[in-house]
């Protein structure tokens, strides 16, 4: 009986190529597997962009833990996404320094510029924005990070212009 969460569901829908994950699953074999769960999930998210439920079930089976356990870990950490995100992930800092320097206003500008709420994908599939607590560039606050690039000293106009520039590059290229 039980809760049924140990039930083995196979990958359904548009099949994911789990072979891509194989090297990492192998790396964390045996006693290391449990400790490596977070690292495996991070790799999986790098590869697939997000963590669909079927994938979590698959990882659970391979690592040898219950799917509920994997889900528990995934939902605990803010880095993990259960839904797909846009091509560019915009991390908007809402840390103390940025808050004091007006990050709430920047969020308004970003929301308007993208026409999407936090965590949603924009209509063109290019962007998803999320609020984060601190990007460690507090002296340049307010700050946002897109990909590996950090933008500091933001104003509402500057934030909107940065997003428009990326969009223009993407649509013209």
């Amino acid at each position: 009986m039980g809760c049924g969460c140990a039930e083995r569901r196979e990958l359904s829908g548009p099949a994911l190529d789990t072979a891509l994950l194989e090297p990492y699953l192998a790396e964390y074999k045996d006693s290391e597997a449990k400790g490596g769960l977070i690292a495996i999930l991070q790799k999986a998210q790098d590869i697939y962009g997000y963590l669909p439920e079927e994938l979590l079930t698959y990882i659970a089976r391979r690592v040898g833990v219950k799917p509920a356990k994997v889900m528990g870990v995934v939902t605990f950490y803010t880095q993990f996404r259960l839904k797909p995100a846009g091509k560019h992930l915009v991390l908007l800092c809402q840390g103390t320094a940025c808050h004091v320097n007006g990050s709430a206003e920047i969020e308004g500008a970003v929301r308007d510029a993208l026409g999407a709420e936090e965590g949603e994908i924009t209509g063109n599939g290019l962007f998803t924005y999320t609020n984060v607590a601190c990007l460690g560039c507090c002296s340049l606050s307010p700050v946002m990070m897109i990909g590996d690039k950090t933008y500091g000293g933001l104003t509402k106009d500057k934030a909107a212009a940065i997003l428009k520039d990326i969009e223009r590059e993407e649509t013209s290229g």
Binding site: F76, C93, G95, T96, L135, G136, C138, S139
Partner: protein, 582 residues
């Protein structure tokens, strides 16, 4: 001759990568054989990007370097007539740099963090060699005890005591863990140290490993610091290639290696028992202490956890002697401390000064005073576990005890400076929003109590505060403090308690008079158009989401407050400063 460009995350955000490329390309074109090296952050974030020309004993520093400035610097390097002097650092800024005492930051912004030889040239890895070759582990611990070094991660616990406990703990293998989770929003010294001087952290961990008797180290770095991870990985690789990490170090029986674990975004994982749970692949929930990590840590084995800055101090202490470190600071707080100056401060960045300076000395000295000539109101220290210290107490000495007496804490050294335009009720709301989201949910008092406090604060900021709210906040604060297992919950009410202690009148203003003197809480503001200044351009009326603004073209407009949704757009877009906010 050598040219360096400061490329920490902050420098890069200010455009340092483009400047670095431009200088390299320019020099290559002119056929000048001169390396353009990368350094970490020197701490003067308000002057980024920073470029140095090192010529023999002389160093010329150029600040706020843009493309035009880079071209002038290139002309100078080519020996042509140039205008580079215009971008030279000002003497007062040089003085601010020299007035510091840089121990943990000794190499940041000076050496190339990707080049192990530059670290070694500044006596790097000499301390661990001395330890392994001629000191017993007990003697190493004794030296740290003499130094009076205490943990820089927040709690300020004596470092030697933890090492000694881990050393004495039976069982093994033992682990050395570096806490680079740096969760306090507004603090970034750990990032700067790893990005600017990764080998100092590695060497500090090696010395701890030798003292404790450990063969394996782990650095837990937060996911938001990709560059720190890259630099650290590179440094570890170089150290391994030199045989500084591995099986048998300096021909002894002592072996040690380090691996990196990237965090996945959870503030509470900075707490040591939660960090260990996270390393083990679990949800990062703190557990009750004792047993302490020194007894039962990672994989149930004795483990020593220290902060990045703590480790970075260690090689210096072993090289210069514990007494030299203890000679700085105050009676109870020894040595130096790195502070991150942010918020409404003119010269934001990282500084390192001996313990015992006053808040005012730092804010008006190294910090250059308040931005835009506004009035200094308060400084927030200790992040979500800390508190707001008012200007009236700015002569408080910075040491662990004096800060605790104000209701704040040293924390990791983040100093978020606030001016008259910062609303203290809104700050309290901000921190409760943070802790409420970051509570791991294990203790009901923390999980539910912080939410109840947040709801009250949100109400107060929205102009719906009621009599009795302040007392209710105080009651909840006491219960959360008493009913939580870890420091996250126990200290979560601090931002509210300190603002209540020093800025109670602001709470009363919000609740009784529905007034926010700092003009931050939008629902409490009213908007009116100054007929004298309004030109009737209609811009505000077109932008108003509530259609509350009416008027004819080229005639003064009016706001109907019954329709106003208080979004503040009209005041933002007005080009004539005609919208009055009260």
């Amino acid at each position: 001759m050598r040219v360096t460009v400061g490329k920490g995350s902050c420098g890069i955000a200010a455009g340092a990568s483009e400047i670095w490329e431009r200088l390299r390309a320019g020099l290559r074109e002119s056929g000048i054989d001169c390396a353009v090296a990368v350094t970490g952050c020197i701490g003067m974030c308000y002057l980024e990007p920073v470029v140095n020309i090192e010529d023999g004993a002389e160093t010329l520093t150029f600040v706020k370097v843009d493309a035009g400035a880079a071209d002038e610097i290139l002309k100078r390097l080519r020996g042509e007539e140039n205008d580079a002097a215009r971008y030279a650092i000002r003497p007062e800024d040089v003085r601010l740099l020299h007035s510091q005492r840089r121990i943990a930051l000794r190499n940041c912004g000076v050496i190339d963090p990707e080049c192990i030889d530059e670290y070694i040239a500044r006596e790097g890895y000499a301390a661990i060699e001395t330890c392994v070759r001629s000191l017993t582990p007990e003697a190493v611990i004794e030296e740290i005890k003499t130094s009076g070094l205490s943990g820089r991660g927040g709690a300020g616990f004596p470092t030697w005591f933890k090492w000694d406990a881990a050393r004495r703990s039976p069982g093994g293998p033992k682990y050395i863990i570096c806490n680079a989770d740096e969760g306090d929003p507004g603090a970034f010294m750990d990032r700067a140290v790893i990005e600017g001087d990764p080998h100092a952290v590695i060497e500090g961990m090696m010395i701890a490993a030798y003292a404790v008797g450990s063969g394996e180290g782990i650095v837990y770095v937060r996911a938001e610091y990709p560059l720190a991870i890259v630099r650290l990985e590179h440094a570890l690789k170089q150290a391994r290639e030199r045989g500084l990490l591995g099986d048998s170090l300096f021909g002894s029986g002592f072996g040690f290696d380090i691996r990196i674990k990237a965090g996945a975004g959870a503030f509470v994982c900075g707490e040591e028992t939660a960090l260990i749970a996270s390393l083990e692949g679990e949800r990062g929930m703190p557990r009750l202490k004792p047993p302490f990590p020194a007894q039962k840590g990672y994989r149930g084995k004795p483990s020593n956890i220290n902060n990045v800055e703590t480790y970075a101090n260690v090689p210096w202490i072993l090289r210069n002697g514990g007494a030299a470190f203890a000679a700085m600071g105050t009676e109870h707080s020894k040595g130096t401390k790195v502070f991150a100056l942010t918020g409404k401060i003119a010269k934001g960045g990282l500084i390192e000064v001996p313990m015992g300076k006053t808040i005012r000395e730092i804010v008006s000295g190294e910090g250059g005073g308040i931005k835009d000539g506004k009035a200094f109101k308060a400084v927030q220290m200790g992040g979500p576990s800390g508190g707001c210290i008012p200007e009236a107490l700015a002569d408080t000495q910075i040491d662990y005890r004096s800060l605790a007496a104000t209701g704040a804490i040293m924390g990791s050294g983040g100093m978020v400076v606030m001016d008259e335009s910062t609303c203290m009720v809104d700050m309290a709301r901000f921190f409760l929003d943070f802790t409420c989201k970051e509570s791991c949910g294990k203790c009901p008092h923390c999980r539910i109590g912080t939410r109840r406090m947040l709801e009250i604060l949100e109400r107060v900021c929205a102009g719906e505060g009621r009599e009795g709210d302040i007392e209710l906040l105080e009651e909840l604060a006491g219960q959360i403090r008493d009913g939580s297992l870890c420091q996250l919950g126990m200290t979560a009410p601090n931002p509210v308690l300190t603002t209540l202690r020093y800025f109670r009148h602001e709470y009363e203003d919000h609740i009784r008079h529905k007034r926010c003197t700092a003009r931050q809480c939008k629902p409490l503001l009213t908007y009116a158009i100054d007929g004298e200044k309004c030109t009737g351009c209609t811009l505000c009326a077109r932008q108003c989401p509530g259609r509350a603004i009416t008027g004819q073209v080229r005639k003064p407009h009016e706001i109907d407050m019954s329709k106003c949704v208080k979004c503040g757009k009209c005041a933002d877009v007005c080009r004539f400063d005609a919208v009055e906010v009260n």
